[in-house]
């Protein structure tokens, strides 16, 4: 099948891209890595009036500054896997990206495109949520910073306003006594997650007591979701055995109504949430303490 015709613009700055978004409005789509958009174009599921290709915008790569790791929107998955800065500042993101697509997807796919696409099974979405990341949305009038939790609205839908462009992902640096884990279940390696769980555990100065814990999940809802903090807060100051992590996982699962699709039923996903959450928390805690 061949895509329907469209106009094409390749701005060389985000400002030009944003100007074009203002000009073309609903008729425009942003082309970043293209690994989700172009299949939809090929299958004629999306027939935009104009494609605004932002790949010509210079990309200076990830920067660590003031307790934050800043990833420009056009940071490609392959770059996340190879960048030593990201390896140190956001190892969970590296773990998550290992699960994303195949080598070709990782060579083209971008962190900004992935977040803006808002696939409910997004690994990068779960990692960014779990780490307490925020995105910078830039419009002609200026920029605003939005927590990733507020970015995702529903299935393939974000709070990016008309005329806005997602230009950066910012992730807070972790303290030295933290451990992360990213686990997922797929039917076939590199495909969409059935359930993915990102877990973060930060310890107190005693390097033993849990100070903060966070869990985010993909494949469990119409968008990547944070586990209810009132549940993950139960870990704070506690020494929980694996069996207790399982029951915590079950409590977290009970807060979701996961989708039912050709790969798995909702009830199977609930089982996975319980198991994978416990495994991720256990691994994050073990890593924090080691």
């Amino acid at each position: 099948m061949a895509s329907a015709p469209f106009e094409y613009l390749a701005p060389s700055t985000f400002a030009e891209a944003i100007e074009a978004l203002g000009e073309y409005g609903d008729a425009a789509v942003i082309l970043a890595g293209g690994q989700s958009l172009v299949p939809m174009l090929n299958l004629r599921l999306v027939q935009p009036g104009i494609v605004i290709d932002i790949n010509g915008v210079p990309n200076d790569g990830p920067v660590a500054n003031g307790g934050w790791l800043t990833l420009p929107a056009l940071t490609r998955h392959a770059e996340i896997l190879s960048d030593p800065l990201v390896a140190v500042a956001a190892p969970m993101l590296v773990d998550a990206v290992h699960h994303v697509g195949n080598v070709r997807v990782r060579n083209r796919g971008t962190v900004g495109g992935s977040l803006a696409h808002a696939d409910p099974t997004s690994e990068i979405g779960a990692a960014a949520l779990c780490l307490g990341g925020e995105v910078v949305l830039t419009a002609a009038s200026g920029s605003r910073t939005v927590p990733v939790d507020d970015l995702f609205v529903s299935y393939l839908t974000t709070s990016i306003a008309p005329g806005e462009l997602l230009t950066e992902l910012r992730l807070p640096a972790l303290n030295g006594r933290s451990g992360v884990s990213f686990v997922e279940m797929v039917r076939r390696t590199s495909d969409f997650a059935i359930v993915a769980v990102a877990a973060l555990v930060e310890l107190e100065a005693d390097a033993s007591t849990v100070k903060r814990a966070s869990v985010a999940l993909s494949g469990v809802s119409d968008r990547p979701r944070l586990a209810d903090s009132s549940l993950t807060d139960e870990l704070i100051g506690q020494e929980l055995p694996y069996a207790r992590l399982r029951s915590l996982g079950a409590e977290i699962a009970a807060r979701f109504e996961p989708p039912d699709d050709v790969h798995a039923s909702a009830s199977y996903r609930l089982r996975l949430i319980e198991v994978l959450t416990a495994r991720a928390l256990q691994q994050a805690m073990d890593r924090a303490r080691s």
Binding site: M1, A2, S3, A4, P5, F6, E7, Y8, A10, L31, G34, Q35, V38, P39, L41, N42, L43, V51, D53, N55, A78, G101, N102, V103, R104, V105, N107, R108, T189, S190
Partner: protein, 165 residues
Amino acid sequence: MSTFEVDLHVNGSRRQLDVKAEETLLDVLHDRMGMSDVRYGCGEGVCGTCTVLIDGDPVSACLLLAVQAAGREITTLRGLEGSAPDGLHPLQRTMLQLGGSQCGFCTPGVILTAVSLGRRNPTATRDEIRHELVGNLCRCTGYTKIIDAIETYLGELGTGTIDAH
């Protein structure tokens, strides 16, 4: 309908042509430039039969607009340099000798992906080879002989018998 005049650098030669915005690199390479080693298999970026190297990295030609490839170095299987008298790239030779090809439809994508791996990680283990190939589906071989051929090729790279060109 937008049309763009682009310079495509394919396998070391340059060609200028007009492309429509929505034409994928696959459309242009296969249908307009006669690169029959770049093949349609799914249009979703899943199967890997349209794999090409862009500036050395594997990319799905079905998911890249031709306009986006302008000025980049595009390598298809036929662009791999063969140093031996038989004109085969060393990985082509191990694929041939070890039976890594059956119907052959996936073969160009498999070879390009593996050659790129060899350049980045010439000491890749058998498991790393397997993981690198997840996006190059093969329905005929069961993969065993493909992995054998790539492992043998990487082994030759490691002993310095051949270069990772």
